[in-house]
Symmetry: C2
Subunit: 327 residues, 2 copies
DNA sequence: TTGAAAGCGCTAACAA
DNA sequence: TTGTTAGCGCTTTCAA
């Protein structure tokens, strides 16, 4: 069943033309008469010829692969996000006959990425998440390979695709303020992720003039629950969660403690997902489009690989979803 | 910063030897004096030379990539599983300087995989999940490329790596029987996945002589809840869940309805995960090692790529974890 | 509009 | 033990 695949030479011989002609018919580069072009293409179609990308790659020093880098230790909610992003990347890549080479990193341990870079296995890289002082970004810059990050970074000269988290969070916060909330708590995770910092800043800006309490570094459920207890004790009117995972834990805790939403405590989340989607009452949150993030990142990267220089930062839209939880 | 990389020619010239000598020093193939070998290797080390895998690939018709195929629409619990498997694959692959090209399929829509196959982008493929009448397996067979499946299949001549689900489930079921359970319900999903069929069979075998009720095709939460209601109404003593996602929904439903575990209903799961790990009371379940599955699959595949013919089926171990939920 | 020929960087017979 | 010489299958000048 291992069909010896056709080569460009076979086709040339068969059709009585030169390799060059065949090559040109396929790539569309250079002048060719429509007739011969058609003849070649027809033959290719009929005989189901597929060019050897390895050979083409060697000739043009391209791999037709792009690297997709994600944390190897994501929790549930991030896994979902990355999965959707990746689907966007895959779809956009396929349009250009590119494939996805996946690599995991563990925080600042980027040995996997380094290998891929050293071995020239990809023509460009998409970084699925940005950290503060990101080692991956440093390595990518050093390698000279085109790359784009999903998520923002403080590093200079990096092409980034992101939602405007600061504006989004600011907007959600100020809407809450307009609805008459007099005090609010933000519960967030560690600030080594850029997005976490952005959300905090948006919250603070949007809530200016309102009594706020900030609980950061809440990664474990117990830490989140402790923050909720504090917020309840301090009679905060609304808890704003940095992401859906935190929100999930917050909802669980409030339920456990018999705190009614929204009567006794309002709740909003800076990120929604399947995790909190079906909760009753429905949770006010920001809504993004992870897949679009992936598609945009990939298209941008492909343009860069083709030698273009896209804008440094591309911002995608968001939606504020007001629901019953902040009534 | 785009350093023109060294080629094997540069090294040869620099060292006054032939390309062949350099090539041999690197690959270790053919006889070479230790002295020259060392000289070459030292030079390589010092100048941080990395061979061009594209060129090597063209010469040996290898890509040094292996394909990793997973469903594009997995839910939470499967995402976790695949993530862990994949980490095993990545680690094993890295040892052989291989990388992972990821492709998603949607049920029997395997166009992504087909592209990768047609374009010869990988030297072998690992299928992350097997379906009944799996189109992907057909395509892989047809392509002639080595591949291994994670999960079993009824197809002939397929190298498979799997846990012995039937035995595992049979064992858990019969332990429950020995503990004096007189009736049990199985709640499971659709039987298009091979593993689902296997678990059902194991359950039935292990429970022989006990009154059983089988609720299959439970994919949505409401369907699972309805099954739970039926089981409770029929005074079944124990609910056995086909996987953790189902178990999660079952636990939620029982809690909602105020059914105490294990006093009023015992609960066991044929798969555990973070989803039900921390539940109180602890849930009796089967425990597997997804990462080991990935490593084994990858090592097996690499052996096949090297021309070896491994055993058709590799079974990995499991553990029965008896916990308070079936006391 | 087409073709000849020289690579891309490496491997692998075959000689020496 | 080492070197010479063809390729691997495609792209891309440069000529015709």
């Amino acid at each position: 069943m291992i069909t010896e695949s056709l080569t460009i030479d076979d086709i040339a011989r068969e059709l009585g033309v030169s390799k060059t002609t065949v090559s040109r018919s396929i790539s569309g580069k250079g002048r060719i008469s429509e007739t011969t072009r058609k003849r070649v293409l027809d033959f290719i179609e009929k005989n189901n010829y597929k060019p050897n990308l390895m050979a083409r790659g060697l000739a043009q020093s391209r791999t037709y692969n792009i690297g997709w880098v994600v944390p190897g230790d994501s929790e549930m909610t991030m896994l979902f996000f990355f999965q959707k992003c990746m689907q966007g990347v895959i779809d956009a890549a396929a349009e250009a006959d590119y494939d996805i080479l996946i690599t995991t990193v563990y925080g600042h341990n980027i040995s996997g990425l380094q290998r891929v870079l050293d071995n020239h296995k990809v023509d460009g890289v998409i970084l699925g998440q940005t950290l503060v002082h990101d080692k991956a970004i440093r390595a990518l810059k050093k390698s000279g390979i085109p790359f784009v990050t999903i998520g923002s970074t403080e590093e200079k000269n990096v092409v980034q695709v992101d939602h405007d988290h600061i504006s989004a969070c600011r907007e959600l916060a100020s809407i809450l303020k307009m609805k008459g909330i007099k005090s609010a708590a933000l519960i967030g995770g560690t600030e080594d992720k850029v997005v976490t910092q952005a959300r905090r800043r948006g919250f603070e800006e949007g809530m200016s003039g309102v009594r706020t309490e900030i609980f950061m570094d809440c990664e474990k459920t117990e830490e989140i629950e402790r923050a909720v207890e504090d917020a309840v004790r301090n009679k905060v009117e609304c808890i704003v969660c940095e992401d859906d995972r935190i929100c999930y834990a917050v909802l669980g805790k409030l339920k456990k403690d018999g705190v009614r939403i929204p009567e006794e405590m309002r709740v909003a989340s800076f990120y929604n997902s399947a995790l909190i989607d079906e909760y009753q009452p429905a949770i006010t949150s920001l809504e993004y489009d992870p897949k679009a993030l992936g598609t945009t990142a990939c298209r941008t990267l492909l343009a860069m690989i083709d030698g273009q220089t896209p804008g440094a930062k591309q911002m995608l839209g968001y939606e504020v979803m007001l629901k019953a939880s902040t009534l």
